[in-house]
């Protein structure tokens, strides 16, 4: 009797759990993706339930990209990480929490949506800022956060560097160019949102270097009558990456859901959500539907040989960025 009941019960439990499991995922992300992910999570949960019957609850954690990476390294049980730059996920991979070739597990460098760096200027563009070259003019005040503490700020820095490299032609000239931009920076905020606040609310600066999606949000939030977006001729393709954390999903048994979650970015719905939140979708059909400004984009791999190399050259202790502030 008993022998027959136990497998029956076990079978029943497996069956019910297969019918309507309750899973929860923790997505550790960076600051300006709050709105993006609350929309994405809702959409994914609905789609996943329709397909499998399982209910997924996704918890979001936001903060500076680097400090989020450190939290995961220090034991925050993130099923997936969706950070501002690949270097931060590499740092987690270097601790053995996920496989080192994580960037090859999903299409397009595991970054399903991209953005670029644009300028936000005051209405009417009183200083006539059109391109990167205007930022080194004496008397122009540029607002950008500190690349040491802000992942977003590193994209700003590399965008300026890439432009200088392409138009001036040499590393030395690029260094001078970027150095001259930072001579015009009166405040180094620790994060991208802080820099936006300095520019928008404190009235400091003539131009804010910002992610395109942040610039759109700022204009939407604070009014078209106060700010406008200037798109430079050349800029960087910012590729915020996503990855699942192997050690966590294996422990929690959430690998399948986490995989589905990240794959969902590459569906039409996922791409549409990215575009609605002012991120450039990878899907060209959807990208064309939304009017993103035309701009010549270069990637970090093309000009800098990837994040690790860019990081060691420019942002580590004693790197180029430190040298800019030596003089």
């Amino acid at each position: 009797m008993f022998r027959r009941i136990v497998p029956l019960l076990a079978g029943l439990m497996v069956a019910t759990s297969a019918q309507a499991a309750d899973v929860s995922l923790l997505n550790v992300s960076y600051d300006p993706t709050r709105e993006l992910y609350s929309e994405f999570n809702k959409s994914f949960a609905a789609a996943y339930q329709k397909e499998t019957g399982d209910t997924v609850t996704i918890k979001q954690s936001h903060g500076g990209s680097g400090s989020q990476a450190r939290s995961v390294i220090d034991g925050l049980q993130a099923d997936v990480v969706t950070l501002a730059l690949a270097y931060d996920i590499d740092a987690i991979a270097n601790k053995g929490l996920l496989t080192k070739d994580w960037q090859k597990r999903l299409p397009q460098n595991a970054s399903p949506y991209t953005s670029t760096i644009v300028f936000l200027v005051r209405k009417g563009n009183p200083k006539g800022i059109k391109d990167w070259h205007d930022l080194i003019r004496p008397g122009i005040s540029v607002i950008t956060p500190n690349p040491k503490t802000s992942g977003g700020a590193r994209w700003n820095y590399l965008a300026a560097w890439g432009y200088a490299l392409k138009t001036e032609g040499s590393e030395d000239k690029a260094r001078d160019f970027v150095g001259n931009i930072y001579k015009n920076v009166p405040v180094l905020d620790t994060g991208a949102r802080g820099a936006t606040m300095t520019f928008v609310q404190r009235g400091v600066g003539d131009v804010l270097l910002a992610w395109e999606n942040e610039a759109f949000l700022a204009v939407k939030e604070f009014g078209k009558d106060r700010f406008e977006i200037v798109v430079p001729s050349i800029s960087i393709r910012a590729e915020p990456p996503v990855a699942l954390v192997d050690s966590v999903v294996d422990k929690k048994g959430t690998r399948a859901v986490a995989e589905a979650y990240l794959q969902y970015w590459y569906t039409k719905e996922g791409q549409e959500i990215a575009a609605r939140n002012f991120y450039r979708p990878r899907d060209s059909e959807i990208a064309n539907k939304h009017a993103f400004a035309k701009v010549e984009l270069f990637t970090i791999d093309e000009l800098f040989g990837g994040w690790t190399k860019a990081q060691t050259t420019h942002f580590t202790d004693g790197g180029v960025f430190d040298k800019i502030y030596k003089n």
Binding site: G64, S67, R70, T149, V187, G203, D317, D322, Y325
Partner: protein
């Protein structure tokens, strides 16, 4: 120790001492020990290079120097506030008394953002000051202001009870013996307040040295200009250079400890002197 143990009249020494030690270890000593363990990953020369780098020295100078200046201002301002609150009765005194605690309760980041809004070039106070050519927000002056803001309650709250307890009879006695008002303050009141004042000073100073949240928004954070030591620690963490970060923290800790120790000795000295004088 054994002398104390023999003479004690209340039971429970063993238990309370044990709990005290355990709690101190768990909450303070073990985390601090972690700091030293992490720093020990550096060789002695690496440690030295980190803490004597010009940028580190500048950040330490900014943090300690401005914290010291802010604590000095708080000492004087705090004394005046305490005097007004304790010795005089005026409408709204209780409200003023409560306001003093606000910097304690306010999240530091909120304080920092509020101060920055106020003192930015388009802020209520920042705009008129900018016309006079004084830039506050995003300069060391802004850091100093934030440190004054968060430090003031420390002086007020340590001195206040002592002044309340100070017997008015002492002053009356001094006066009846022919002391002038100034002499009474100098010879009677100030010496009794000195130990509390110095404790308040030390607390305000220590808090300002480690202050991050309220300072970071108003500082401007330019390396070698307005970069505070706690920010430099955060930057080293952002570079995943934990050992370098803790090295700076260790220096701050030792330096603060030294200063507090000196202040403690001075306070002890002032106390025995005032007791001998009385």
């Amino acid at each position: 120790m054994s002398a104390i143990a023999r003479r004690r009249s209340l039971p429970g020494f063993g238990l309370t001492m044990g709990l005290t030690l355990m709690w101190l270890s768990l909450m303070i000593l073990i985390p601090l020990a972690g700091l030293f363990v992490k720093t020990a990953e550096l060789s002695l020369s690496e440690f030295w290079a980190t803490v004597t780098a010009p940028r580190t020295l500048h950040a330490l100078k900014i943090s300690f120097g401005l914290a010291f200046a802010a604590a000095c201002v708080n000492l004087v301002a705090g004394l005046l506030i305490v005097w007004a609150l304790v010795r005089y009765s005026f409408p709204g005194r209780r409200i003023f008394d409560a306001i003093v605690d606000i910097p304690f309760a306010l999240p530091t980041a909120v304080a920092g953002i509020a101060l920055t809004t106020l003192f930015a070039q388009n802020g209520w106070l920042g705009a008129p000051l900018a016309e006079l050519g004084i830039k506050v927000a995003f300069t060391p002056l802004g850091i100093f202001l934030a440190m004054v803001f968060i430090g003031i309650p420390f002086v007020v709250r340590t001195v206040q009870p002592v002044l309340i307890d100070l017997d008015a009879e002492l002053e009356e006695a001094a006066e009846s013996l022919g002391a002038s008002r100034l002499q009474t303050i100098r010879r009677v009141i100030l010496p009794s307040l000195t130990p509390a004042v110095m404790t308040g000073f030390a607390l305000a100073f220590a808090r300002a040295v480690g202050e991050y949240g309220s300072v970071i928004f108003i500082a401007g954070n330019l390396p070698n200009v307005s970069e505070i030591a706690p920010l430099l620690i955060v930057i080293r963490l952002a570079e995943f250079r934990y050992a370098d970060a803790t090295a700076i923290a260790v220096v701050m800790l030792l330096f603060s400890f030294l200063i507090i120790l000196v202040l403690n000795r001075l306070q002890h000295w002032a106390q025995t002197r005032s007791l001998a004088g009385a």
